[in-house]
């Protein structure tokens, strides 16, 4: 058994500040190895749900809407069949209630949007950004802009961003992080071994995840229950960073960069519901969205199979939700 003794700054801080520290010299530890903030980065102190509940200055009506947003964020499956057509919850990728560094904390959406987004080549609002998650990661159809559901989710994002500076983009722990290019090209067989050794216990031999008493406990990683081919997680750079900094649960930073790239490749080389931007031809779709798909295996041949060459939309009875449309601000302003 492998007991790591190197403590990250976070772990050290935890040990030093916990009320009754587990201080025994030889006590085994599993490190929390996460990249520290860089000099000059804004480090956000994300408020806790406890502080929300205790905040007697907030209007109770607002508190209940923020808590509704929190509830939707944690249990997005309550929108199954309406907005969500797979096994995902917001918290599946945005771990730690959407507050955690390197698990794509969501509060920066509230301070950095509206802004231009490369993925859809136009300026996005917070709502449109959330809608993107529903369209791709949830393989679904977003709640309507301005709806109670959407407003609640936005309220949760904005409340978490309390006191964060607007349009400050240099944020510590934003996204999933970025791994250096691997020494060896990512490899399916090596990835399969990493998967078997580290992931199967929760996600299953076939990446099918695990459900208990009707609730998804461990999400599927491919197949109909998983994110579709348009989700950010299909990009190897995104999946490898998510894996390295968040998986296995409770043990971030324990896989090597190479292992993270390899297992990301293995997972990406499996099938999943169609990209809702599908034109009818997978290679054409890959080309059309190459700025995105150059990072994924979509439309490429792995193990003799052309990935994404199908019309399966999973549980979702349509291909393209309403929000995936171009925007045109060409008229601009005549006030200048």
């Amino acid at each position: 058994m492998n007991h790591f003794t190197i403590l990250s700054p976070l772990t050290l801080a935890m040990v030093l500040t916990s009320n009754t520290a587990v201080a025994a010299e030889n006590a085994p530890q599993v490190p929390v190895n996460l990249p520290p903030p860089k000099a000059g980065q804004y480090v956000h102190d994300v408020p806790t749900i406890d502080s929300l509940i205790e905040n007697d200055k907030m209007k109770p009506q607002l508190r209940s809407v923020v808590l509704k947003g929190y509830d939707l964020f944690m249990n997005t499956q309550q929108l199954r069949g309406e907005n969500v057509f797979n096994d995902m919850n917001c918290r599946t990728c945005h771990m730690g209630e959407g507050r955690k560094s390197w698990a794509a904390p969501v509060w920066p959406a509230a301070t950095t949007l509206p802004n231009f987004r490369g993925k859809n080549q136009h300026v996005n609002s917070v709502e449109e950004r959330i809608a993107g998650c529903f369209s791709f990661s949830m393989n679904g159809k977003p709640p309507a802009y301005g709806s109670d559901t959407m407003l609640s989710l936005v309220a949760y994002h904005k409340w978490m961003a309390t006191k964060a500076p607007m349009y400050e983009g240099n944020i510590a722990g934003r996204g999933f992080g970025k791994l250096a290019k691997p020494a060896q090209e990512p490899d399916y067989q090596r990835g399969a071994k990493v998967f078997k050794d580290n992931c199967v216990i929760c996600h299953g031999e076939q990446g099918e995840g695990k459900t208990a008493r009707g609730e998804v406990v461990f999400p599927p990683l491919w197949g109909d229950g998983a994110y579709n081919w348009g989700a950010g997680m299909v990009r190897l750079k995104t999946a490898s960073a998510f894996i390295k900094h968040n998986m296995p649960l409770g043990k971030p930073g324990t896989l090597s960069d190479q292992q993270a790239w390899d297992v990301a490749y293995y997972i990406d080389a499996q099938e999943r519901p169609q990209d809702p931007r599908f034109t009818g031809d997978v290679k054409e779709t890959r080309e059309k969205y190459l700025n995105f798909h150059k990072h994924s295996l979509y439309g490429t041949v792995v193990n003799g199979k052309l990935l994404g060459d199908h019309k399966n939309t999973g549980e979702k009875p349509f291909l393209k939700p309403f929000n995936l449309r171009p925007r045109d601000f060409a008229q601009g302003s005549d006030q200048l």
Binding site: N2, V22, P28, V217, G223, K251, K316
Partner: protein
């Protein structure tokens, strides 16, 4: 028109459900009942176990997952789980007999246990750790692996709700102190090693007071 076919995924999943490693050995509960005659001294006739203040508490076995019990018996026997009390009993069982005993206890309805009520502070902290965790200290919620209401997920993540507080606390402490290490991939060690004494007391008390079945 996009219509969901029965995809290859579903087909593979169906075939996989039939045979997972933990279920490979399916025990006979009737035979297990006879073998369990020696277990009742501690684990009680109904498998409810017993809380022993200031001593080793005996876990509830009734209603736990068979694969989980079987693995623990194998680990007591091999020494992978170090427990002086259980080692001689587990060593009496061959693989088939262990599977039978495991099947027997898994087949019993989970009885309500006697549990001391948590203090108000323990109630709040214990519930928070079980249901939400404390991510600022990188402590994921119990529920995130042990499933909804901490009633267990498969053979790797046992039910915690309705388990004796003393037993849960003793196990968490054993992990923290390096005395228990038969968890897969150090997953429980990772969490337990970040928990304080107060955390352990609170979450144990809270879990013990939750229903063992729903």
């Amino acid at each position: 028109m996009y219509i969901k076919p029965l995809t290859w995924t579903s087909a593979v999943m169906l075939s996989f459900c039939a045979l997972t490693p933990a279920q490979a050995e399916t025990g006979n509960a009737d035979k297990g009942k006879q073998m369990a005659a020696v277990c009742v001294a501690c684990h009680q006739q109904d498998g409810a176990g017993k809380e022993n203040p200031d001593a080793e508490s005996w876990p509830r076995l009734a209603g736990l997952d068979a694969g989980y019990i079987q693995k623990q018996l194998a680990d007591f026997k091999s020494g992978a789980r170090n427990n002086a009390t259980m080692k001689p009993f587990a060593s009496m069982l061959n693989t088939e007999q262990a599977a039978n005993v495991a099947a027997y206890y898994a087949s019993l309805p989970a009885p309500a246990i006697k549990a001391t009520a948590p203090t108000d502070a323990q109630q709040a902290l214990g519930k928070k750790l079980a249901k939400r965790g404390d991510w600022d200290r990188y402590i994921p919620a119990c529920n995130s692996c042990h499933g909804p209401d901490s009633l267990g997920v498969g053979s790797s993540f046992p039910a915690l709700a309705g388990q004796h507080a003393g037993y849960i606390a003793q196990q968490l402490n054993a992990w923290r102190e390096g005395k228990r290490s038969n968890d897969p991939q150090d997953l429980m060690l990772a969490v337990a090693s970040r928990m304080s004494d107060d955390d352990i007391a609170a979450v144990s008390a809270w879990l013990a007071n939750q229903p063992a079945a729903k």
